[in-house]
């Protein structure tokens, strides 16, 4: 009888060790899911914090460029329009006038470079979205691992014993997000 008891205890010991390892695996996977979810939040916060400031910076530069160009143009116009009585009265006033026209046309203006700022903003927007999508994918994989582990045969007995391992939801896009965007200018 004692031999039967000992073998029974041995079987119970093995089962409990195995049960503990499955429990730990479930705990680890569910922590992975929580971590992945929190990482997504971090990326979304990063986007929310970054975009307004970036946009303001780009706008600021664009306005600066416009302001600078306006200043250059109006200063030149002022200079061009200034009438020097002596020069106007000069004999070759016509030639001077024609030359002035020539100078006006040949003036080179500073390069417009705000498009580089806009380009960088576009690139940064794409990178931010890539990061968010990437972490959502990691979250999905973590949820899939947890759900699979929950349903697989040996482990679903452990899950039945404890109610704390719930099936997690996958990321779901809203109906608006599923529609295709219309690009029109």
């Amino acid at each position: 009888m004692s031999a039967v008891l000992i073998s029974l205890l041995a079987v119970l010991a093995v089962l409990s060790i195995w049960g503990v390892s499955q429990y730990n695996a479930l705990v680890s996977l569910s922590n992975g899911v929580d971590a992945a979810w929190s990482n997504i939040d971090a990326q979304i916060t990063r986007r929310a914090d970054l975009i307004p400031n970036l946009v303001e910076t780009v706008k600021g530069y664009a306005e600066h460029e416009k302001g600078t160009l306006d200043a250059v143009v109006s200063a030149r116009a002022l200079a061009m329009g200034a009438k020097d009585p002596a020069a106007v009265a000069a004999a070759d006033g016509a030639l001077t006038g024609a030359l002035r026209q020539l100078f006006a046309l040949a003036e080179s203006y500073p390069q417009l470079r705000a498009n580089e700022n806009f380009l960088q903003l576009q690139g940064e927007l794409a990178r931010l979205e890539d990061a968010i999508a990437g972490y959502r994918q990691i979250y999905n994989t973590a949820v899939k691992d947890l759900n699979t582990k929950r349903e697989v045969f040996p482990t679903n007995l452990v899950v039945a014993m404890f109610s704390k391992f719930k099936a997690r939801e996958y990321f779901e896009a809203t109906e608006d997000e599923r529609k295709k965007p219309i690009v029109s200018f």
């Binding site: 416009k66 160009l69 143009v73 009438k83 006033g93 020539l102 972490y135 999905n140 965007p181 200018f185």
Partner: protein
């Protein structure tokens, strides 16, 4: 002695009694187990040698991937250069710095043609000008012969013209300036073990993931890129398969030894009940194999059904990405275009208004103006700032294409997952469990 002449089956049956059926069943079970393991192992080996199905739903993040550098199909073979996956060309000049003279790199060009990095589970395409590639075997060759830079540049995947900065183009023929210039050529030959660092970007089209460097993310551990679907599960099962390859023959050995002992004269040396005892003691192993097989069948169905749900969600991820990206990108481009248009308008108006403010006396001015300021001359000297927002529009076009490609890849991945799940649910042993998953059965994607 006379027993050896009788037909073998009758002989065995006579010797072993009803246990013959059990023995035969054990042999059948162990050979089936062995064959299954063999098949899985062969699949895993094949997967390690060749590129497998394209990685759909490749997880993102900063990753490192190691493997063998392979050829890109478009790379042309070139006579004097060894076919290599990656080139870097350095133009160096021998200069004296104070008392010492040393070779100074004046210009570096890196090949842009992508190469493939094969690892055990598939391949990725690496764009070397955008990734950090680490390898032990960079071959450096010094080329100071009459090898024109344009040919090297072509090999490196660079444009053959307009390669060098203007001031170095006169030195394109190294032999013209012996001793002062040299070209160093660093190549990573095919088959080299390399490690590539970079974040994994969404796959564009049905091709594998593309690497690019985003230094802000930093290095963050190891990510193994595994293609999605059944082949992924198979590739990680090579360890289990090898275990089965060992235990299968072992389990086959027990009953066969028993049979052999039963029909030959072994019984005189070692009595038959000994072998029977060994067989009975080994019974739990056969039970374990049977139970394990049943559990495996159920678990594979579970895994496939969950993979379908995960793949649907990956599709949602790519749709959400497209939506929020274009919500922000479209106004950005609109703002850039409007800004440029306004500036151009401001410049033009201001310029022509200032010109018209110039007063000229009509009689001699007309004569002078008609000669000096002919329309052709006017057109020649007009200079306006360049329109540069075409770059922005190009970037938007590329973002559009990438987004759609990502969505298409996600749909393909979903369809693959559905195909596998439905196959498993419908094939014979698993269809007995299929009723449990009847409400989770999915159909292929349709618009």
């Amino acid at each position: 002695m006379s027993s050896m002449v009788q037909p073998p089956v009758a002989l065995i049956a006579a010797t072993t009694g009803e246990s013959i059926f059990a023995v035969l069943f054990m042999m059948f079970l162990s050979s089936a187990y062995f064959l299954k393991s063999w098949r899985r192992w062969r699949v895993a080996i094949t997967l390690a040698d060749t590129p497998s199905s394209p990685p759909s739903a490749v997880p993102f993040g900063r990753s490192e991937s190691s493997g063998h550098v392979g050829a890109h199909p478009d790379l042309p073979p070139l006579g004097r250069l060894s076919p290599a996956a990656w080139y870097q060309v350095k133009l160096q000049r021998y200069e004296s710095r104070g008392k010492r003279s040393t070779w100074v790199t004046r210009w570096t060009g890196t090949s842009t043609r992508p190469f493939r990095l094969y690892d055990a589970s598939g391949f990725i395409e690496v764009y070397p000008d955008q990734a950090e590639v680490e390898t032990q075997m960079i071959t450096t060759r010094e080329n100071s012969l009459d090898f024109p830079i344009s040919t090297l540049a072509y090999a490196a995947g660079l444009e053959p013209t307009m390669v060098l900065p203007e001031k170095y183009r006169e030195h394109a023929r190294i032999s013209d300036m012996p001793g002062s210039w040299r070209i160093l050529e660093e190549v990573i030959p095919h088959g080299t073990e390399s490690t590539v660092y970079g974040p994994v970007l969404p796959a564009s089209g049905p091709n594998p993931a593309r690497f690019a460097v985003d230094k802000s993310l930093g290095r963050r551990g190891r990510l193994i890129i595994v293609p999605g679907g059944e082949k992924a599960a198979e590739s990680t099962m090579s360890k289990k398969a090898r275990w089965g390859l060992l235990t299968g023959p072992l389990l086959f050995a027990f009953p066969s030894v028993y049979l052999v002992a039963a029909v030959t004269d072994f019984a005189y040396i070692i009595p038959l009940p000994f072998f029977a005892l060994v067989l009975i003691l080994a019974l739990p192993l056969y039970l374990a194999v049977m139970i394990r097989s049943v559990i495996d069948i159920y678990n594979r169905v579970v895994a496939a059904v969950n993979q379908v749900e995960s793949a649907w969600s990956m599709l949602d991820v790519s749709l959400a990405r497209r939506s929020s990206l274009f919500e922000n990108l479209t106004p950005t481009l609109a703002a850039a275009l409007e800004h440029e248009q306004e500036l151009m308008r401001a410049v033009t108006q201001a310029r022509w208004s200032s010109v018209s403010r110039v007063e000229v006396s009509p009689d001699r001015a007309a004569a002078a103006a008609s000669t000096v300021l002919t329309p052709t001359l006017a057109a020649l000297v007009e200079s306006y700032p360049q329109l540069r927002t075409s770059e922005n529009a190009l970037a938007l076009q590329e973002a559009l294409a990438r987004s759609e490609n990502l969505i298409a890849s996600a749909r393909v991945g979903y369809n693959e997952a559905v195909a596998i799940a439905n196959t498993r649910l419908d094939s014979f042993p698993a269809s007995l469990f299929a009723s449990r998953f009847a409400d989770r059965r999915a159909s292929f994607w349709s618009c």
